[in-house]
């Protein structure tokens, strides 16, 4: 089997955190190697380029974090509106925690990178689109279920999920730009308002 190593994982972690904290374009391969404590020769042993690493890091983010967490938040056992509220409340907690630790609200790494590189890095952009559309399905299902149960006003779940995703993305982006987690703290109430929830759920807001 030969020599073993977690350098590949360290590189993906370092790349994601640096790009999240700064931006895709401002992070160099040397920066990533330094944070990962990996020499550049090893970088090129595992990856062809920064975009190749970014692609792997985003894939890892989806598989290791996003998908399991979405499966938890959007479990069918949870009432559909509650799924959505729990999810955005979690986003707020996470961003507040990041601000406590780093002094900055960092927003969403997927959307930020996606917007930044969409005209430049075709493969990274395609991965971002894939992750966004996979997450979208969780929203669509929750909204569809909520309509079916009469918990929210009738609507086209596809359209409503699109506008809800935009609302969430916009608020998280505002949180980063303003460096203010409180903006994101209003998201649960905004989501309930946007969905026109009929009666308050058990633990609304």
């Amino acid at each position: 089997m030969g020599r073993t190593s977690d350098a590949r994982e360290r590189l993906m972690k370092a790349a994601l955190s640096l790009i999240w904290e700064e931006s895709y374009g401002s992070v160099t391969i040397d920066d990533i190697c330094e944070r990962a404590e990996v020499k550049k020769g090893s970088f090129y042993y595992f990856f062809d380029s920064k975009s190749d690493l970014a692609l792997a890091a985003l894939d890892r983010l989806w598989n290791e974090s996003w998908e399991p967490r979405l499966n938890e938040h959007f479990a069918p056992t949870v009432p559909p509106v509650q799924r959505l509220v729990n999810h955005v409340a979690w986003i707020h907690e996470k961003q507040a925690e990041i601000k406590r630790k780093t002094g900055r609200v960092l927003g969403c790494p997927v959307c930020s990178v996606g917007s930044e590189v969409s005209t430049q890095e075709a493969k990274v952009s395609a991965k971002v689109r894939e992750i966004c559309s996979r997450k979208r399905r969780y929203l669509e299902t929750a909204i569809s279920d909520a309509v079916a149960q009469g918990a929210i006003a009738p609507c086209d779940p596809i359209e409503k999920a699109a506008s809800l995703a935009a609302l969430i993305e916009g608020i998280v982006s505002q949180g980063r730009i303003m460096n203010d987690p409180d903006i994101i703290g209003r998201l649960p109430a905004m989501v309930l308002d946007h969905l026109r929830v009929k009666e308050p759920t058990a633990s609304s807001i």
Copy 2:
């Protein structure tokens, strides 16, 4: 008075278009000079750095484009809901036109740059925040007027403007990421839905 020149303007235009097409981080001073047809020595005659130029370019964008256009779209003579619909319809037309010309939906230069550099370039970030909050006031006034006239359901105009701004920003960002102007084409209907407009306006959608 000495020698005259429009090199300063050419640099601001070149910087804005390049950063819009690509990203803040991927554009170099050499790139900007090449597009502006200005030698680097002249660049440093007018500006101290890329961020200094970006700051001036954003300021110019607000003064020359955004403020006059917002004053037009949000003229008090226009019914308040119509102001908002006109504005987002204009955004769609603009993005569709950009896609026709460049092959890409480029989204909003202010928000894209703001999200990209917020943790890096304090002055640019501050200018972005200033522009966003100035634009926000137009939304707040329109919503406040709409509530006063009974055109939309009662709400807190500040909160509603915040969520509306997020919805718009999120959709425009999605348009860039997906490179699809049709996403933005659904924005007028989404805005009406989000505002819970009571009766269809003269030329709704």
